[in-house]
Symmetry: C2
């Protein structure tokens, strides 16, 4: 497989010379998942940061038997149960593939080795942690301050891929509403748009 | 002022030799806040990471005129509106002092200078971002999965200082309930403990 997309991803954050790239590239492994396959289970440790090459993944909690969607991942971004990856504690969430999916994995020990070898990788680690922090913080803030209707409108504006690709019941739990609640929100918005 | 507590704080994450410490120490400035004083307002940029030396601070949102508590800070930890600090965008939150408070500030430019000068500071930056990420993620997860009652019980077990020092109405909004809702929760817990 050609890993140039991953090099480009890193180069958004740091400069990568050929030696650094060859060190990084030698640690990458490819994994394919079929539709519905679970990549990480609750109670397992997350040993990878993974780059989504193709397909779609979902992160979700199982809460009293009900799936609660926490995040959706599309090609071009990183996915990891990052709290488990960092602390080495077991995951509280599941990650599964919503379609046939290809991810490229970088394992925990390689990440630590790269951090030690080159301060630029350490910087990348800081910038990625900061980016994830900002994204979680934004979602947290929205849960504290916004109505489900505002959260849905933000999703339409900011993450059209989620609206286009993800089943309604998964979007509902992601927004913290029931599927019926989401239907009502959509009707209200549709009505308001017509007036 | 004696900055040894800050040195100890850094040394929990990285090794600090005397030269590094003198570089860091020369960037620190002390700020005192009187009870009720606002340190950061919504719409201002957060230019500091601050170490709480003495006192107590609160971070809160103003949502349709109502204060919604987001976090509480006690001596020995860092406080920053970190998303604003990182991205250089304006803050969505307020930070104020709940008692007479002393903080020690490290400004944005100094932090960036330290990152460039020494990879160990870069590592510190990564580890701090990861620690903040884990803490926000934990709170986010609790908001998605736990009842307010469970959130309150977790607060008792994990953050007794909040229970002991923070007014009830601030704890209520922190948990996402009304003050009356919090009273009911406390009565239920008290009753359950007696049985």
């Amino acid at each position: 497989m050609n890993f140039t997309k991953i090099r480009s991803f890193y180069e958004k954050y740091i400069e990568i010379n050929d030696q650094m790239w060859s060190e990084l590239e030698s640690c990458l492994t490819v994994k394919t998942l079929i539709k519905g396959e679970v990549f990480i289970k609750e109670g397992e440790r997350c040993d990878y940061v993974s780059f989504v090459e193709k397909g779609m993944l979902r992160m979700y909690y199982l809460n009293e038997g009900k799936e609660v969607s926490a995040a959706f991942f599309f090609p071009g971004i990183y996915i990891s149960v990052y709290d488990s990856f960092i602390t080495r504690a077991v995951s509280r969430v599941y990650v599964d593939a919503l379609t046939d999916t290809t991810i490229i994995n970088l394992d925990y020990d390689s990440v630590q080795m790269l951090y030690r070898k080159n301060p630029a990788f350490e910087r990348f680690g800081r910038l990625i942690a900061e980016a994830i922090l900002i994204s979680i913080n934004k979602r947290m803030m929205s849960f504290m301050l916004d109505t489900p209707e505002i959260r849905y409108l933000n999703l339409i504006n900011e993450r059209p891929k989620v609206i286009q690709n993800i089943p309604q019941y998964m979007i509902a739990s992601y927004l913290g509403v029931t599927p019926e609640g989401l239907s009502r929100i959509k009707k209200r918005i549709h009505k308001a748009a017509k007036n």
